[in-house]
């Protein structure tokens, strides 16, 4: 049988998609490479090529240490707690009982709200409710607790995604395995470690990789929760640092070089994390 689409028209089908992708991602990516080698300030029409100067500058940039530390701290915090909480919730919700769907909806609904809304609501809760009920100050105003504070908002705002992925994975664990284990007299923990964990390993690897790479790029939440990475840069992430280089410091060329280094770092992390997990997955 010949191809379902006549020759030529199959390329035409790609054009709309490639048009949008090309204009908003492919071409900017290439011009970005160009900008990274210039001293463009983000405003003026002219700029000079400075070779690898921006990259050399990066190695001695003391201001870069703060966002790197913040980004890694935030990403690890979110990844660890997100996966512990969602795995727990998924195991709990993976039984039949009345109210199960309502609970699942409750855990997912916050995921539908924008980061701005989540940050505003939790900003108020941290400030007013913590103050009045626990007598504690808002973590968002403290250098030490601002990142856990923001991470807390992110967890509320994004747990739904991993929860759904884990629930789908748990639903795929064949019941015979659990029954066999029950007959063999395996205890709950042994059943969990020897059956559930290996069976949901693929979902675990997806969730950890996704949470990690997404939270390493985080921009919206710290931006909205602390209006730009405060107090005193204590929650400034890499994404915000790159943004500030364009809008606040007028160093677009340098910011672009940082963005490229950041991209390579992200690809490296994403690749190695999924490598580590892939080697541990079991085939059924």
């Amino acid at each position: 049988m010949k191809h379902s689409l006549v020759k030529g028209s199959k390329y035409i089908f790609l054009i709309p998609s490639l048009f949008f992708f090309g204009i908003s991602m492919f071409i900017p990516f290439l011009t970005g490479l160009n900008v990274a080698f210039t001293n463009w300030d983000g405003l003026s029409k002219s700029y000079d090529y400075v070779g690898f100067n921006n990259f050399r500058l990066m190695l001695s940039d003391k201001n870069l240490i703060v966002p790197i530390r913040n980004t890694i701290y935030y990403a690890l915090f979110v990844t660890v707690f997100n996966n512990i909480i969602t795995l727990f919730l998924a195991v709990m919700l993976n039984r039949k009982f009345r109210g199960r769907n309502i609970l699942r909806t409750i855990f997912f609904v916050p995921t539908c709200l924008s980061a701005v809304l989540a940050a505003f609501t939790w900003g108020f809760i941290y400030r007013e409710v913590f103050q009045n009920v626990f007598g504690a100050n808002s973590p968002l105003g403290s250098m030490k607790y601002v990142i856990p504070g923001i991470a807390g908002i992110t967890l509320w705002n994004s747990c739904g995604i991993n929860l759904v992925i884990y629930l789908a994975a748990l639903a795929n664990v064949p019941n015979e395995l659990n029954e066999a284990a029950l007959i063999d007299g395996a205890g709950r923990w042994r059943k969990f470690w020897n059956i559930t964990v290996p069976m949901i390993m693929p979902a675990f690897s997806v969730c950890v990789t996704l949470t990690l790479t997404y939270s390493l790029r985080e921009f919206a939440m710290p931006m909205a929760a602390t209006s730009g990475g405060g107090p005193a840069r204590a929650s400034e992430t890499m994404a915000i640092y790159i943004y500030n280089n364009l809008y606040a410091f007028n160093r677009a060329g340098y910011g672009q070089a940082v963005a490229f280094a950041f991209m390579i770092f992200l690809i490296f992390i994403g690749y190695s994390v999924s490598r580590i997990f892939r080697s541990r997955e079991v085939e059924l």
Binding site: F29, G32, N175
Partner: protein
């Protein structure tokens, strides 16, 4: 005899009680912000100052009408609706066509190349193209234009939505298409009358997910929309909430108003959203 429910028949012990308790604590934490939002949105500032948690003595409906006025809610709502509707429409049209031909011609180098390009682009952090995109849009006089924003949203969504379509088309049998070719259908009629209707399940998922994402989009909108008249809800609220003089009760009234459509949409399309999240993750 072992029934599937027999696993639940063992004795309830301490750990069960503890984990059910934890589940309800989590549920309470997840609902609590909604309580705060609603209660604060119908109180007077004085009532909020006296007690953050208490219910109001009288519901302040006027908070909502005032919030609509000062947060320029109607303009933002219209802008958000236009942006979301147009970009989701374009995303579905473009990525379904692209996903279809890529999936049907996966043995050809050119199409594999495009697929690899899209897969790679999914890994990119937005910051890598932020500076060039801003420059390009400025040169094209498209900053503060909803069309410019839509162009970018569609382009940056292309990799993931196409990827979802590629996966789905693989499961659609070719027989119908082959029969239609014999019947003399041209490529475009074949696609829109035969193939596209078959893709309805994944189209619902792609559309539902992207409605949520486009409605809440923050990063791209923030750099693109700098004038009040074009701002979408998240951006408008970002600046509105950021004002120190803002009356918190009005802030929450605006927050509640913007939550209502999203939550209604989520409840109506929950099935597709949850399917989409788990499908994307399993294949990703």
């Amino acid at each position: 005899m072992i029934r599937s429910g027999s696993i639940n028949l063992r004795k309830i012990d301490c750990l069960d009680v503890l984990s059910i308790l934890m589940l309800f604590v989590f549920a309470a934490i997840f609902i609590f912000p909604f309580y705060i939002c609603i209660v604060t949105s119908i109180k007077t500032p004085l009532e909020t100052a006296t007690s953050v948690l208490a219910l109001p003595s009288e519901i302040q409906w006027s908070n909502f009408s005032q919030a609509i006025k000062i947060s320029k809610f109607s303009t933002a709502f219209i802008n958000s609706s236009i942006t979301t509707f147009c970009s989701v429409f374009l995303i579905v049209v473009c990525s379904s066509m692209a996903g279809y031909v890529i999936s049907r011609n996966y043995k050809q180098k050119f199409f594999t190349l495009i697929e690899m390009l899209y897969l790679g682009a999914m890994m990119l952090p937005f910051q890598i193209i932020m500076i060039p995109v801003y420059r390009m849009m400025k040169n094209m006089n498209m900053i503060n234009s909803l069309w410019g924003l839509i162009l970018l949203l569609v382009g940056t969504s292309m990799p993931y939505s196409t990827f979802l379509y590629i996966g789905f088309v693989k499961t659609v049998p070719k027989e119908l298409e082959e029969a239609a070719i014999v019947d003399g259908y041209g490529p475009y009629r074949l696609y829109w009358q035969i193939v596209f209707p078959l893709l309805k399940p994944i189209t619902s998922t792609v559309a539902a997910l992207h409605v949520l994402w486009m409605w809440n989009e923050f990063t791209i909108s923030l750099i693109m929309l700098q004038k009040d008249s074009v701002r979408t809800i998240p951006i408008q609220q970002y600046f509105f909430f950021g004002q120190y003089t803002v009356n918190l009760n009005l802030g929450f009234a605006s927050a509640v108003l913007s939550m209502i459509p999203v939550i209604i949409f989520f409840l109506a399309s929950q099935k597709y959203i949850i399917e989409g999240v788990s499908a994307g993750a399993v294949k990703g």
